[in-house]
Symmetry: C2
Subunit: 342 residues, 2 copies
């Protein structure tokens, strides 16, 4: 007998080993028959994680046919698309085709959705042999079924935006939502964003502005990015510095700020972010390249009384906020559109 | 010309490569002549980091004489005791023997202090050839000088406690200080501590109680620890669970709590901590074994709206708080004393 929490997390779908969370499982039960709190998706497309696709391609000598066979084998064996070498998955797009009476997700049959939880924990069955995929790109046209649990997350894809734009926004929507929350709670006035010209960076600037911050500084790595960010109007001040050089960041930022948001996806940005932040301020780390010990020991070594947050990819309302910031902020569109293959 | 921030961090003492922070430097200038914002310590003892000492011993075939020569060579070459293989240092004990007129540390000549910043960034000169050390233990009797910068941290060793007790408390004093702050700011009622019978765990329980939390749960790994923690009276409830098994932690804790403090020093405690925490609650990670991606992706995968903090080893007043909790809380003494070789 599973507890409600265990059901909500999908533990009842774990076949092996028993009693672990779906992400840690070797095999899931991908049966399309849903429980009362589950949702079934008719799959249209898988987006494989870039690291996973690269590994599969290299292992198959870039033979597309072999890559396709490998993906089918993984999904058939594991009941989910989790690359056993990289451990990573990706996400999927599809249409809701069944909703259990007790599902709390608010989805309706016919909704086109993107799953915001990883494929590594999503029960998946492929029924078309991936016949429309040549095994040569991360985007995989597919037919089959996927299962969402009570605590899964899926975003309804809006009609007014191209799918590619929506997916690009949903991919990073945790950052602006968390930035907005931190700025509001701290009534922060000054904000620095490291990596401000990227997707999560420009959305975080826009979110900070909307949340009431009045002095926004964008740190970028070169003059090309600086010109683009200046033209967007999202920041009050744009400076160029190597985010991995703590003293360069501190010098470029000048007076330390209330909130620093780290959106650069390279290791070594922890100490610069700490130095950019005033005593009593907050650093939000959104880079997966963040080192926990480097952050913890760096703050201690510099006697920096700063609050450091692990950027949580989930905040209620995060998808809607990112989509709205894109719709309402010309500067966000100007920076994101060139990065999206529409 | 260095900026005030750079001086405060000791950048002026970096010889190679120029322009990095002292911790990242290959060589520091350990000249005992101090600048106006510096403090000089007459060194009495080095406590080498355990990982560093182990590496040095193994590399020297457990020949104490060779280990001593290796430490002297490192300090002589680098101007600091930073093991080039492990990257780690340790801390030191000594007596303040000179204070620059602009030093903000509040130290006086004659104070016996322990440095709370790492040896990896502390300019150090050894003058006795480590003649009183046999190279066979992490505790190194030593004579020489060390330099503190404006943003270094040192704690005056109290007269009423044995050094070994003070050092054990100072080693983990960030955890209770941060716990107290989080509990106060969130007006948290219920708190779970993972690893509650350890040094940082029991201090965190005592700090949470003092900060006003009313429902304290200690999670420990076995019945021996459970009995000791129950006898201490620090927790309202003691449960046994493997902190690396998320579902076991969730089941043992039951109703999720306002604040969860992670003090277990093993990898894999992130997901259990997240599940133990209520929506809107806070997790404070104090284990250096914490994985940033595991925390970030775990919360997202479980759609958990929790605030996750990187435990900062520095909070103003942290040393005094830990020493006071030890003095005033019999349960803390009961758990810590057996762990200290007085």
């Amino acid at each position: 007998m599973r507890t409600a929490v265990e059901r909500a997390l999908g533990v009842h779908r774990v076949l092996e080993p028993a009693g672990v969370l779906p992400q840690a499982a070797l095999r899931l039960d991908a049966d399309p028959a849903i429980g009362p709190d589950e949702v079934r998706i008719a799959v249209q497309r898988l987006n494989l994680d870039a690291a996973s696709f690269r590994q599969l391609s290299e292992a198959a000598g870039n033979d597309g046919e072999a890559v396709r066979a490998a993906v089918l084998d993984i999904v058939g064996t594991r009941g989910k698309m989790q690359n056993p070498v990289t451990g990573s998955g990706g996400m999927l797009i599809g249409v809701v085709d069944a909703v259990g009476p007790d599902s709390p997700l608010g989805l309706r049959v016919g909704d086109r959705v993107a799953t915001l939880v990883s494929l590594t924990l999503t029960p998946l069955r492929i029924t078309d042999g991936l016949a429309r995929w040549d095994g040569r790109a991360e985007q995989v046209p597919a037919e089959g079924t996927a299962i969402l649990f009570a605590r899964s997350i899926a975003a309804v894809l809006p009609d007014d935006l191209p799918d590619a734009v929506s997916l690009a926004l949903l991919d990073v929507c945790g950052a602006p939502a968390a930035t907005a929350r931190v700025v509001e709670r701290a009534a922060a006035r000054s904000v620095v964003v490291l990596g401000a010209a990227g997707k999560s960076g420009c959305l975080s600037l826009a979110a900070a502005r909307q949340a009431g911050a009045g002095e926004l500084t964008g740190v970028v790595r070169n003059e090309t990015e600086a010109a683009a960010l200046r033209a967007s109007g999202l920041a009050d001040r744009v400076v160029v510095a190597d985010a991995t050089d703590p003293l360069a960041v501190a010098a470029a930022v000048g007076t330390p700020v209330d909130v620093t948001v780290v959106c650069v996806d390279v290791p070594g940005a922890e100490h610069g972010a700490i130095l950019a932040t005033a005593e009593g301020g907050t650093v939000v780390f959104f880079s997966m390249a963040t080192s926990f010990p480097a952050a913890a020991l760096g703050a201690e070594g510099m006697a920096a009384d700063v609050t450091m947050l692990v950027g949580n990819g989930y905040t209620p309302g995060h998808a809607a906020l990112a989509l709205d910031l894109y719709r309402t902020t010309p500067g966000v569109r100007a920076l994101i559109d060139p990065r999206v293959e529409v």
